[in-house]
Symmetry: C2
Subunit: 531 residues, 2 copies
């Protein structure tokens, strides 16, 4: 937690989050626990709104994506297949003198615990060679702490989707191309959690695995694979899209989503990983970055993962992960022999390349790839995957940073003062509308205000506040990003005549302008603004 404190803007945001109940340190009364953060009342609402909008956008508004909710603890075999057991590790060095353990790549930045004037790399302590330290949290399932009973807290939600792929396919009436979406907690035993909630040990992910036909199948069916014309939005999905267009499509869909929840394109950067940066199974990866006060950092990665994941689980579980595609079968039979051969060969080469990379011996790989390519000719393949994978907590932090704003506004006496305002998009704001009776000691005003509250509450999150001057009540709502405030005054009660009767003052957070609306107009007006 040192870095944000060195950044004045982050310091203000962290302080606001604590003061107004967005984010608390986990277990604070016991001195906290490094890398774990709780969401207070407003943070919990903000997070619920963001997750709900993601779920709506990614599953309920589409015909081609369904949801899944899998467990955090799964069979440990999954993490062998995914590579996490063997490679999800940081190199660590132990100091035999001070008994400290340090990340090998950080020893020249970390002061020696015994002689803080020197860095660990320079101090006299006797060090071990670097050793791999796995970042998965380990536990034991069942009463015996034996190797047989080891289990891990999932370090990502994606794998659960891959292992349930066939179950979902067989029960959901979907056909490739289609996706499976999941929101859930994941855990990484980071050596150095940092940047407030940005890199924490317990976090939440929103992941979509979108399964597509291999390009060879597309070419067989549609005679060619559409080529990406530019980095612009490729439009609505077409049958002749291969992995490149699907990948571009999801990059643009995700950026559109961020725009819809209040992160304009100018706050984001799109980073296309260079070939040498790609994971060995990835054909392309785009990182969507946000300009945080502490640096430009990743919000989401969108990877074209080929058929790596399902293939690994097929090999490790011995259960077939392929699908049968009757369109492919029918199309293949009508192809000229040369085309069949060319497609067979390309599929064969790709499969063999995967198998060899995954450690299968040359000869066995050739045999297995031959079977796979023969399968393709009969309409069978292992789907490829496009994976848009977003971190909820870092997104919440980005939304808070982006919303934080200070401007000048007059106080009760007309004197200008600094106003802190969170300019959340109304669709994610924790409170949509605050409702104030002008005075709390006038029962008629209070009763009317409560009636308005009850009218709106069925449809949106409201906050009722009767304490203090109206100006102070506005400031409190500005600071938590409430887009609208309603004041019920004597005019509402009809004291100035029928014209103003049953009208209320609606005040806009951003423009600070006030207008009078009739009570029956409130609900449609607000609903149109908060969606």
């Amino acid at each position: 937690m040192s870095e944000p404190k060195e950044n004045p803007l982050m310091e203000k945001i962290v302080s606001l989050c604590k003061r107004r109940g967005f984010i608390f340190q986990s277990s604070e009364i016991y001195g906290g626990i490094n890398g774990f953060w709780d969401y207070g009342p407003l943070g919990a609402e903000l997070k619920r709104n963001v997750k709900e909008l993601w779920w709506q956008t990614m599953t309920r508004q589409r015909d081609d994506v369904v949801g899944l909710e899998a467990t955090i603890i799964m069979s440990p075999q999954i993490w062998k297949a995914s590579g996490h057991v063997s490679t999800f590790a940081d190199a660590m060095i132990d100091c035999k003198t001070c008994k400290g353990r340090f990340r090998a790549d950080q020893i020249s930045e970390i002061p020696c615990p015994q002689k803080p004037s020197k860095m660990v790399s320079e101090c006299a302590g006797e060090k071990t060679e670097p050793r791999a330290f796995n970042l998965m949290f380990k536990t034991y399932v069942g009463p015996v702490e034996s190797d047989d009973n080891v289990a891990y807290l999932r370090p990502e939600t994606a794998q659960a989707i891959f292992v349930q792929f066939k179950n979902v396919l067989e029960t959901s009436r979907q056909k490739v191309p289609f996706g499976i979406a999941q929101i859930g907690k994941a855990f990484r035993n980071e050596i150095t959690p940092r940047n407030y909630t940005f890199r924490s040990r317990e976090f939440e992910q929103m992941e979509l695995e979108f399964f597509i036909r291999p390009d060879e199948a597309i070419e067989a069916i549609s005679s060619s694979v559409a080529t990406p014309a530019s980095k612009d939005h490729p439009g609505e999905p077409q049958p002749n899209w291969g992995w490149q267009l699907w990948h571009q499509y999801w990059v643009e869909e995700r950026i559109k989503f961020y725009g819809n929840i209040g992160l304009p394109r100018t706050t984001l950067e799109e980073y296309w990983q260079k070939p040498e940066e790609l994971a060995h199974y990835a054909r392309a990866t785009v990182d969507i970055l946000f300009k945080f006060p502490f640096g430009t950092q990743e919000l989401e990665g969108i990877a074209a993962r080929s058929d790596f994941d399902l293939s690994q689980h097929e090999r490790f579980s011995g259960k077939p992960m392929g699908v049968f595609d009757d369109e492919l079968k029918a199309a293949w039979e009508k192809l000229p022999k040369e085309t069949q051969d060319a497609l067979w060969r390309r599929y064969y080469e790709n499969r063999k390349k995967y198998l060899v990379k995954s450690g299968v011996q040359e000869e066995a790989a050739a045999k297995s790839a031959t079977e796979d390519a023969n399968g393709l000719a009969k309409g069978q393949y292992i789907p490829h995957v496009i994976e848009p994978s977003a971190g909820v907590d870092r997104l919440i932090l980005a939304l808070l940073c982006n919303a934080y704003n200070e401007d000048q506004a007059p106080d009760e006496k007309g004197k200008m003062e600094t106003r802190v305002v969170l300019r959340f998009a109304p669709c994610i704001a924790p409170v949509k509308v605050a409702i104030f009776p002008l005075l709390k000691n006038k029962p008629d005003l209070v009763a009317k205000a409560k009636a308005v509250r009850d009218l709106l509450r069925q449809h949106m999150n409201v906050f009722y506040d009767e304490a203090g001057a109206i100006g102070r009540r506005y400031r409190r709502q500005d600071e938590i990003g409430t887009p609208f405030c309603l004041t019920i005054d004597f005019d509402t009660l009809g004291e100035k005549g029928d014209d103003l009767k049953d009208t209320v003052t609606l005040r806009d957070r951003d423009t600070m302008k006030q207008e009078r609306l009739k009570i029956p107009e409130l609900l449609p007006f607000l609903l149109s603004k908060i969606r």
Copy 2:
């Protein structure tokens, strides 16, 4: 998983859940992992609906409850304070011969792994004495697996609420009485997970901790504490309610909630724990039970937990957990001396009783209780708690069991056949409305059906299906509990004239009756039914 199989009704429900994608075994392709279950596409929607309705009912529709979203891994000190480290354990016996480990209370029911003809209690193997086996999953946070770094996966969500009580109080503009609600995962390393998803090792809870004044404070403020007249609903909260009425209130609120999501009172039992069954800190506990096919079992417990929880965390953290109540302070000063003395004495006795029970020595307890009672006279106290605590997974199972139904309905040719139907309350149904074009090879029908789908989709979860005879499509929806189906036919297109143009056939799942509605009437009609 043996028990459900022995029960024909459970067998059908388990089979339906797998077949239609409500529930899958976690990690199934790797042989599963005992006590862990995944929710497929329909199960995930059902669970989301139930959690959303709980959150709406418990927080957003009320002024006096706010939310929280805390981490699963918290400071291990919390579980010392709560008693989980020392007492959340089963007694286990090891067999030195077969190396098995068994629950001490089950050795006469479990067959010996080496000689299955005998039970563990009768076999020749040499057994250890029973030893406590803690049910919390243990892990290590940070790079060193030392005692200092032990952490647990939370066995309940409640404690996070208690440790953040002051943070929430200070940031949320709430005053006692008020509540903090949380939904989240919890983990218990059950020795024998059983009854399908009913008792699993990873599960989700929906918990409310509702903080109230101690009865002595109520009496000081309102001159007397209202007494419960009967077990009927006590009505809307009143200032003179003590813990008994608040407890009754929450029991009734929770039963009302179950009614609203489709579990009528007749399917539930209310069990008031007998004094000898109560946990030592509880003043009363009501279990709400559901009549599962495998027996009548607990869905939710509603406990009056006195001030035990906050007091424990005050003692273990050294941080004050009391609140200052200006109404109490003002009221106390006006009380006759005898009343002050009597209330002082009662509060003193209660606090002393708690402290002695918690292991504080007599003399120290008397001193501390004196300070507490002196605090009361100045308006300070530790709030008491009413805790409605529900298990999401067992509730989902109850909803599935309750919804499962078979009746007789005519097939396409008019012959009666058995129809499987899930009679979900529309508000929890995973799909609210299915939309069918009469024929899939008529572009006009398909286009119209998709237009209706897009119209409704903004407001509810829809399912579009064009495959197979209408009767078969109805059956598919019946089996997943979709309350309404819409068919777009040639009449919709206006082929029988203007009267029927832009009308669709709406079919009701339960009555199987069909009626024609105009398209513009659909949305208001459906919205009124699904809420």
